[in-house]
């Protein structure tokens, strides 16, 4: 038997308009409701975003992958004990817990030109997809330019301003933080990069420069590293970062998304 299914699904005549936007238009309907296909498509995107928010940094694998840089690696943790605390207490995500502070002090490293920091932020998935390539490329270029590097710091449950807490202990001239951005439905693996000259507690976000949407389908790791090198050179020349370091390479200054503050 070959019964035709009469489910009531209707498509929209203006399907062709989808060419002009990624917005969820011309979804069609059954009755006044959204077709199941579209409902599930939405749910899958949301599931990816939620999984990314609750994803965790795999410190051991990051240490392995960053070994080729030859840099010492130090894993630290913010004062936000777990993800639910992290989400509700942004203030704690900006501070190092006590063992971490001691560990960084114990490095006794001489102040370097540049400190590289990698933090989970709101998507450890974004870090695992993008950070290793960016760090390896960046270390190579930074060295070629003659700058010294501090040990790489890996941060669990960290927010953007934890840069300042780390900066206070390692005293680099400039810090670069790679951090997982808040996942959207269209991208759950975007990484951000924040560049802070003379990081120290009490800095506000207009003192940083930011690159957003670093991922293969967005600002590719190679393009990101080129932009980062431009910012680094400019920052050392001007002895500052932030709103006064102007947008010449399409970079935004002081535009830290609220959720990453």
């Amino acid at each position: 038997m070959n019964k035709q299914k009469k489910t009531g699904l209707e498509s929209d005549e203006w399907d062709a308009l989808k060419a002009y936007t990624d917005a969820r238009i011309a979804l069609g309907k059954t009755g006044v409701s959204i077709p199941l296909r579209e409902s599930l498509r939405f749910r899958l995107a949301h599931a990816h975003a939620k999984d990314a928010v609750y994803s965790r940094l795999n410190i051991a694998s990051l240490e392995d992958d960053l070994a080729p840089t030859g840099l010492p690696i130090c894993a630290v943790h913010s004062q936000a004990e777990n993800r639910d605390t992290y989400l509700q207490r942004p203030d704690l995500g900006r501070l190092l817990d006590e063992p971490s502070a001691k560990r960084l002090q114990g490095l006794n490293s001489t102040p370097a030109d540049i400190s590289l920091i990698v933090a989970d932020g709101l998507s450890a998935t974004a870090i695992h997809k993008n950070a290793v390539l960016v760090v390896n490329l960046l270390v190579e270029q930074v060295r070629r330019a003659g700058y010294s590097l501090a040990p790489v710091v890996l941060v669990e449950q960290g927010r953007v301003a934890i840069t300042d807490a780390i900066g206070a202990l390692l005293q680099p001239r400039l810090a670069i933080l790679l951090v997982g951005e808040r996942p959207g439905l269209s991208s759950f693996d975007s990484m951000g990069a924040y560049i802070t000259y003379a990081p120290q507690p009490g800095l506000t976000d207009e003192r940083r420069n930011c690159l957003s949407n670093i991922r293969e389908q967005g600002l590719t790791p190679i393009m990101a590293v080129n932009k980062l090198m431009y910012i680094i050179e400019t920052a050392f020349r001007l002895k500052l970062t932030g709103v006064e370091l102007k947008d010449n390479g399409g970079l935004a200054a002081g535009e830290v998304p609220k959720e990453l503050e």
């Binding site: 006044v32 939620k50 509700q88």
Partner: protein, 460 residues
Amino acid sequence: MGYSCTIGHFTYRFADLKTILAKASPLRSGDGLAGLVADSYEERVAAQIALADVPLTQFLNETVIPYETDDVTRLIIDTHDAAALATISHFTVGDLRDWLLSDDADTAALRALSPGLTPEMVSAVSKLMRNQELILVAKKIQVVTRFRNTIGLPGHLSVRLQPNHPTDDAKGIAASIIDGLLYGSGDAMIGINPATDSPATTARLLHMLDDVRERFAIPTQNCVLSHITTTLELINQQVPVDLIFQSIAGTQQANASFGVTLPLLQEAYEAGLSLKRGTLGNNLMYFETGQGSALSSGGHHGVDQQTCEVRAYAVTRHYNPFLVNSVVGFIGPEYLFDGKQIIRAGLEDHFCGKLMGLPMGMDICYTNHAQADQDDMDTLLTLLGVAGVNFIMGVPGADDIMLHYQSTSFHDALYLRRVLGLRPAPEFEEWLLRQGIIDNQGNRLSGGLQKQLYAALLPA
């Protein structure tokens, strides 16, 4: 003056009004972040019991933020209408709660009372009320506003069509507008959040929206949600500005962080009125608010986030707004952690806004790092529909690809209209019928009638 409540052998003491208000608040993460929440479930109820006994007149004698240092407090005190409060000025907060639910508190009585209530009184009473009570009282209140159509009539639900695009691309925006109109959305306004606040982009989008509206004689109003100073600049350049948008908060310091002052709001309001673009009425201000904004800007002065929110409503009511929109779940889980907190806050905001006399609508929404999903939005959407919300957002597929959060969709609006028998704004509904977009049962029509519309709407 201190406040206290004895439970068993323990006496809870609350130093001042702002402490008792904060401790009496239903739990939410933002008050925890600010360090203001009750230490136990018992202390929260003790604070509510004590709050119920506070006389309403005490709110006129004790400000939560000093009169001398905060212009919102000065606005609240200086414009308080004592005569409107007179019939119930001997009430306590608890008395007010009982009276609001009584049959004496009908639509006319609530309207008459509104100017006599301060935001702190309204916030206080909401903290003593359950969700169903917030719905029941709000449903009795009608706030009707007009510009090119009529919003807020009983039995009607309007939608702000929000066709955002990450690069403000004209065709991308037009595609979403067409989709929304053909799904019966857009009567509250067509309102774009621009990706950048550049005056040139805002002007370009305003011209485009005005052109579409004129060409198809759509009885609605447009808005590009740029900063109020940008909008003022564009008014001076004769760019077609319908509604004037601004985000505002409930303290002077928080407003300063938004780059607004009360005189600036007044200046923009008067500039908008001078354009005389409304055909049915002169409500033209569009405000957005949200619990947590005062804390987020460091300007909360130890006042709980819901009380700060209602103080923002006290600001908006001085400018006869067309719409006030609480963007309830946008701010993130550090202020409203999960679906339960977002739903509670949404019902509070709608109730408090309506009781303050405002045309309340809501962006029923959440971010991906909040513990919420579309099921929670369905629940809040349905509850607000029952409560008589003036308008909601219509975002294609509920997914805003520019602001990266989830709201309500065109389909959601059709759902709510269908299950509750609600209709679009009358003038807009007539237009939808004339265009063959819906039939008089509110069903969306399919067929060739729409082809001409969407073919013509898309910019070349």
